[in-house]
């Protein structure tokens, strides 16, 4: 019985360490401040390049005296498909003020409001050789069961001669920004940097804790 307990204790430690250290790379959490003169998220959010879909949970508090409507936009190249969902009470009992989120805009943000926005992003496929984003007319080549898209015969031939060199370069990389703009002044009130990295560069990635 004693040995069984020790085995399960060690087993739990092993499984939990694996769970704690494993990075999924398809989601991140940012915490920021909405400020009249331009707020910024405390840490950039890192995501692993090459996934089909990503989720960023952007939470923020409105710092007084800011008050107003703020439009939210994901900025970066190449353009990415994304959807924004604001988290809030399903049945609003009216105990607290809640900003209304409609058409990618927070209406009536009040000082000290808390917002939680879920950003679901679907990046375009990238030509792994030249880095161009997918457009109609790209040709497809399947390598090891995965589809790759190329802008030209030249790119596809380069890939075919050295697929191992290019196979992990088919996802978006670099910096995007989830930007909040006051609708009246057009001034930026919050910027959340979102950085897409290759798997090898993902040491500090995964969910960011605060």
């Amino acid at each position: 019985m004693k040995i069984k307990n020790i085995i399960f204790f060690v087993l739990a430690i092993g499984i939990s360490f694996l769970g704690a250290t494993w990075r999924w790379g398809d989601s991140a959490h940012s915490i920021g401040l909405v400020k009249a003169n331009g707020g910024e998220a405390k840490h950039p959010s890192f995501l692993e390049s090459g996934k089909d879909s990503y989720t960023l949970i952007a939470t923020a508090r409105v710092i007084p005296p800011y008050r107003g409507d703020a439009r939210v936009k994901l900025e970066g190249e190449p353009e990415m498909d994304y959807k924004l969902y604001a988290s809030g009470p399903i049945v609003n009992l009216g105990v607290h003020h809640w900003p209304v989120f409609k058409d990618d805009t927070f209406y009536d943000l009040n000082p000290r409001d808390r917002i939680a926005l879920w950003v679901v992003m679907k990046p375009p496929a990238i030509d792994p050789v030249c880095g161009m984003a997918y457009q109609s007319g790209f040709s497809k080549y399947t390598y090891k069961g995965k589809d790759y898209f190329f802008c030209s015969e030249g790119c596809m031939n380069s890939f075919r001669t050295a697929p191992e060199k290019y196979k992990d370069l088919d996802g978006v990389r670099g910096k995007y920004t989830l930007a909040f703009y006051d609708t009246k002044t057009e001034k930026s009130v919050l910027r959340v940097p979102v950085i897409f990295k290759g798997k090898g560069d993902m040491k500090d990635a995964g969910e960011h804790h605060h």
């Binding site: 019985m1 069984k4 307990n5 020790i6 399960f8 204790f9 060690v10 087993l11 739990a12 430690i13 499984i15 939990s16 360490f17 769970g19 704690a20 250290t21 494993w22 999924w24 398809d26 989601s27 959490h29 879909s53 989720t55 939470t59 959807k83 969902y85 604001a86 988290s87 809030g88 009470p89 399903i90 049945v91 609003n92 009992l93 105990v95 607290h96 003020h97 809640w98 409001d113 808390r114 939680a116 926005l117 879920w118 679901v120 995964g206 969910e207 804790h209």
Partner: protein, 279 residues
């Protein structure tokens, strides 16, 4: 061990436990999320977070650690309230009020018996404290974190919310969300008794269990009157946290027991009761 109270009349907390559990679910979880709205929250994430404030993360300063307590002040109050009440009354939060464990138990009760998995071969305290050790140590060493990625207090409310809100639905569109869903399904809804998640992977439950053990001398607990017990095993069969071991007489592991008191209702000899433990 003997209890100093033996009554034939069943307690309200025994006969109405499922109603109290359902009340907890209604108060805490979507669509109403009643208690959260007083602090401009819509779930446990934020002011009510009960899982993060007590974890030291590598690289943070003392004041940043304390800021976590202030940010989640209602979560701090909740955990302190749970642990303090457990010292004296036993783990009533876990058995009667927790909407997270309650949902899994009610879910498991609704599912047909042939689907259920029996986890009772796992020595729960050993596993639980192995998990809790990593819960504390991994962030302190800066090598990872179990707080948010594997959070039962995030998953269960969003399971309710997903039917109403796309933001809650988005929770399950990520790898971490799907893994949590799997854990909750296998260790909760599909577990015999519905409490394997609580018993193995809940950090609040693990802290609460320590409080249950510490308060043994002066608090009220579920106890067995050995003079009445005939070792029939009826109690052990129904225990959702597999904390009763029957050799000649039944014995309760107070590190896993919560006062759901299902065993009390099942005991043909009325040997189980809730009260102070006599030395």
């Amino acid at each position: 061990m003997q209890a100093n109270t033996t009554t034939n009349k069943k307690s309200f907390f025994v006969t109405h436990r499922y109603w109290i559990v359902i009340l907890g679910i209604l108060l805490f979880l979507p669509p109403l999320s009643f208690l959260f709205q007083f602090s401009q929250d819509s779930n446990f994430c934020g002011t009510w977070c009960p899982r993060m404030f007590f974890v030291w993360r590598k690289g943070i300063s003392g004041s940043e650690f304390l800021t976590g307590f202030i940010r989640s002040y209602l979560g701090v109050a909740l955990v302190l309230g749970i642990v303090a009440s457990t010292l004296f009354l036993g783990r009533y939060w876990c058995s009667h009020l927790c909407p997270v464990g309650g949902t899994m138990e009610v879910g498991s009760r609704i599912l047909p018996r042939f689907l259920k998995i029996n986890f009772s071969a796992i020595p729960a305290p050993s596993f639980r404290y192995g998990y809790l050790a990593v819960f504390f140590v991994a962030p302190a060493l800066g090598i990872g974190n179990l707080c948010c990625n594997y959070c039962n207090f995030a998953t269960i409310p969003r399971l309710f919310g997903a039917g109403f809100s796309q933001a809650d639905m988005a929770y399950f569109l990520r790898t971490a969300g799907l893994i949590n869903l799997g854990l909750v399904a296998v260790l909760g809804f599909l577990a015999k008794g519905g409490r394997a998640y609580c018993n193995l992977l809940c950090p609040i439950g693990a802290l609460d269990a320590v409080s249950n053990r510490i308060g043994l001398k002066f608090g009220r607990r579920v106890v067995i009157d050995e003079s009445k017990c005939n070792g029939c095993n009826a109690c052990a069969k129904v225990c959702p946290t597999w904390s009763i071991d029957v050799k000649e007489k039944a014995e309760i592991d107070q590190l896993s027991c919560m006062p759901c008191r299902i065993c009390e209702s099942k005991c043909p000899k009325e040997a189980i009761s809730y009260g102070k433990i006599k030395a």
